[in-house]
Amino acid sequence: MSGNEVIAEVKNLRTYFHVPEGVVRAVDGVDLVIKPGRTLGVVGESGCGKSVTALSLMRLVPSPGRIEGGEIIYYQSVRETSASSLSDIIDITRLKPNSREIRAIRGNHISMVFQEPMAAMLPVRTVGSQIMEAITLHQNVSHQEARERAIEMLARVNLPNPDRIVDNYPFQLSGGMRQRAVIAMALSCNPHLLIADEPTTALDVTTEAQILDLMRKLQADYNMAIMFITHNLGVIAEMADEVAVMYLGKVVEQTDIRSIFINPLHPYTQALLRSIPQLDDVMTRSGERRQLHTIKGMVPDPYTVLKGCPFHPRCPHFMSEVCDQVVPEVIEAEPDHIVRCHLYAPSPEEAQTRKEAML
C-alpha cells in the first residue's frame, strides 16, 4: 500500500493482560487500516477489546497489559511529502512506552479523546493552561502564541467567548462544553489521526449530535483520520466510512458503512443490529411493549480461551464439530467485505479439511 492512502496500519495486534487469575487476551490478532480523511468505526460490546486496541496505538496500555505481538505501522509523513522514506514509517509496537519517540507522536501526530469529559481535565488548572501545554510541548512557540492558538482552537470547537473560557476552570463548564474543550485540546497540534473512544457516551443526545457534527466538520477541515470507538450503532451509522466489528479481541467483520447495515454477514453483527431498539417496533399500536431482541448467553469469562470461534456458544448458526473446533480464518466473502465465520468458508469440505489438519 502506498503512503498516500494509508495513515496507520494495525497488523495482527495482540495485547494481553497478565493478571493473577490468568491471561486476558484483550486484543487477539486485530488487523485494521486507517486512511486519511476517513473515519473507521470500531464497534463491539463492553470488554471486546476496542478501547485496548486504541490505547495500544498510543502505547498507553496500562499495566499489567502488554503488547505481545503484531505491528502498528504509522506512516509519519503521509501528509507532508508524497515520497515516503523508510525512517518515516514507524512501527509503534517497537517503541519503548514513554520513550521520547512515542511522546513526540502522542498529542502531536495521534491524539485521543476519551469517554468521560468530566474526568479528562485536571480540576485545579485552567482549561487554557491544559491546552497550551500540548502546544508548547510539540511546537516551538512562545507562551503568548500558544495562548492565542488555544483561544483559536476553543473558537473552532464553537465554544462561546473563547477568550474567557481559556481562563476558566474545567468545573465551570458543562459536560458538553468540556468535551468540546477536550476535543480542542486533542486537535491543538493538528493531529493526523484522532482516536475517539466513545466521546459522546457520557453526553445527552442533543449534545451528542452537536459534538458528532463538530467532529465531522473538523475532520473535513483538517483532512484528519478518525478512529471512532463506540458501542452505539446509531452513532456509527452517522460517523463512520468503514466499520470493524469486534468480539472478544478479534475483528469478526469489516467493511464499508453501507454493507454493514444492509448486508451484515457475521451472525454477531446480525444479532447486534437486531438488538437496536426501534421506536415503532417497541411501541405497537395496541400499546403493549414488545420484548427487545437480545443476544443469548453472556460474554464468556475473559480467562478461558475458547476453542474454535469465540462466538460459537452464543451463535444461532452454530455448526457442531466445526465452530467449536476450528478457529475461523479471515474470509473476503465479498469485495472489501471480510468476515471471520465458517458460514462463508469457500466450501464446507474445505472447513472440514482445515479441521482435520488441526487435529
Binding site: 474526568a119 479528562a120 480540576p123 476552570y169
Partner: protein
C-alpha cells in the same frame, strides 16, 4: 478571592472570643487564686498578713469584682498591652517567660515541619508511583514504625545510647560552656550542633504520617483519567506527576498546616521535656502542675488562638491551590 479571605477572617473573631471565655472559666475553676497564694507565701516567710492587707491585695488584682468584669480586665490587658498577668511560679510576668522561649520554639518546630515536607512529599510520591515495589514495602514498614514509636521514647533511647556507649551528652540546646554566655558565632554553631536532634525527633511522627497520606492520595489520583489524558498529550512521566496528580494530592498536606501552629506549642511537649529544651511547652506544662493559673490561661489561650489562626492560614492556602474552593464549586463528577 479577597472577599473569601475577609469572610474567613471575620468568621474567626467569634471563635477566638469564645475560646478566651472558656479559657477564663477554666482558670477560675480550681480553688484559690493569686492572692491566697501570695498570702500563704508571706505567712510562710513569717509575715503576718492582716485582713486589710489581704483586701488591699484583692482590690489591687481586681479580685473583688464580679467575674465578667474580671474577664474583661484580663482579656483587655492581653489585647491592649500583651499582658497575660503575673506568673507566681516564675516570679515574672507571664509574657516575659513565654517570649524568652518563643524563638526556640518557633525555630525547632518550623525546622522539623520543613524537614517533614522535604522528606515526606517526595518519598510519598515515589512510593505511590512504585506501588508494591521493594522500596514501597520498606518505606511502608518504616512509616508504621515511625508512627508507632513515640518521639519521647526515641529521645530517651538516643540519650541513653549516646551517653552510655559514646559518652556524648545529649539534651538541651546549648553545651554547658555556652549556656550562660552572650550570643556569639561559637554559641550559634553550638546551637546548630544541638538543634538537629530535637528537630529530627519532632519530625519523625509527622514525616511517617505525611508519607502515608501522600502515598494514598497519589494512588487515588494516579488512576484518574486526566493522568492518561496528560500522557496522551505527550508529556513525560515527571512532567505529568508534577503538573497533574501532585497538584491535587498535596491538598491534605495543606489542610494539615492547620495543626502546625498549635503543634509548635504543644505537639512535641514530651520530647521537649525529655530533652530539656528551653522552649515554651515545658514551661507552660510546669505552670499547669504548679497551679500557676495566669500562666496556664496564657497557654490554653495561645494554643487555641493559634489553632484558629492556622486554620485561616491553611484555608487561604487551600483556596489558592484549589480553585474549586475559591469558587465554591461542587464537583459533579
Amino acid at each position: 478571592m479577597l472577599a473569601y479571605i475577609i469572610r474567613r477572617i471575620l468568621r474567626a473573631f467569634p471563635q477566638i472570643i469564645l475560646i478566651s471565655i472558656l479559657t477564663f472559666i477554666i482558670i477560675q475553676l480550681p480553688p484559690g487564686d493569686l492572692v491566697t497564694q501570695q498570702i500563704l507565701n508571706l505567712q510562710a516567710s513569717g509575715v503576718e498578713v492582716s485582713q486589710q492587707h489581704a483586701e488591699m491585695l484583692m482590690r489591687q488584682y481586681g479580685l473583688d469584682r464580679p467575674m465578667h468584669e474580671r474577664y474583661l480586665l484580663w482579656i483587655g490587658n492581653i489585647v491592649t498591652r500583651f499582658d497575660f498577668g503575673y506568673s507566681y511560679a516564675w516570679q515574672k510576668p507571664v509574657a516575659e517567660v513565654i517570649m524568652d522561649r518563643m524563638g526556640y520554639t518557633f525555630a525547632i518546630a518550623l525546622l522539623s515541619a520543613i524537614l517533614t515536607w522535604v522528606v515526606a512529599i517526595p518519598v510519598g510520591i515515589f512510593v505511590a508511583v512504585k506501588q508494591y515495589s521493594i522500596t514501597d514495602y520498606f518505606v511502608t514498614f518504616m512509616t508504621f514504625i515511625g508512627m508507632a514509636v513515640p518521639g519521647f521514647f526515641l529521645a530517651m533511647v538516643i540519650m541513653y545510647v549516646a551517653l552510655t556507649r559514646f559518652g556524648i551528652r545529649v539534651g538541651g540546646l546549648f553545651s554547658p560552656e555556652y549556656m550562660v554566655q552572650p550570643w556569639s558565632w561559637g554559641k550559634f554553631l553550638d546551637l546548630l550542633s544541638n538543634l538537629w536532634l530535637p528537630v529530627v525527633l519532632l519530625g519523625i511522627g509527622g514525616t511517617a504520617g505525611t508519607i502515608r497520606t501522600m502515598r494514598a492520595m497519589m494512588l487515588d489520583e494516579l488512576r484518574k483519567l486526566y493522568v492518561t489524558v496528560a500522557r496522551a498529550k505527550g508529556l513525560s512521566e515527571t512532567q505529568i506527576l508534577v503538573r497533574y496528580p501532585v497538584r491535587v494530592a498535596i491538598n491534605p498536606i495543606i489542610s494539615g498546616l492547620m495543626w502546625l501552629l498549635p503543634w509548635l506549642f504543644s505537639g512535641g511537649l514530651l520530647v521537649e521535656i525529655v530533652l530539656n529544651l528551653p522552649t515554651a511547652g515545658p514551661a507552660l506544662y510546669s505552670a499547669l502542675l504548679a497551679q500557676d493559673m495566669h500562666m496556664a490561661g496564657a497557654y490554653i489561650l495561645i494554643v487555641g488562638a493559634l489553632t484558629i489562626v492556622s486554620a485561616i492560614f491553611s484555608d487561604i492556602l487551600l483556596a489558592v491551590s484549589d480553585p474549586r474552593i475559591r469558587f465554591g464549586a461542587v464537583e459533579g463528577a
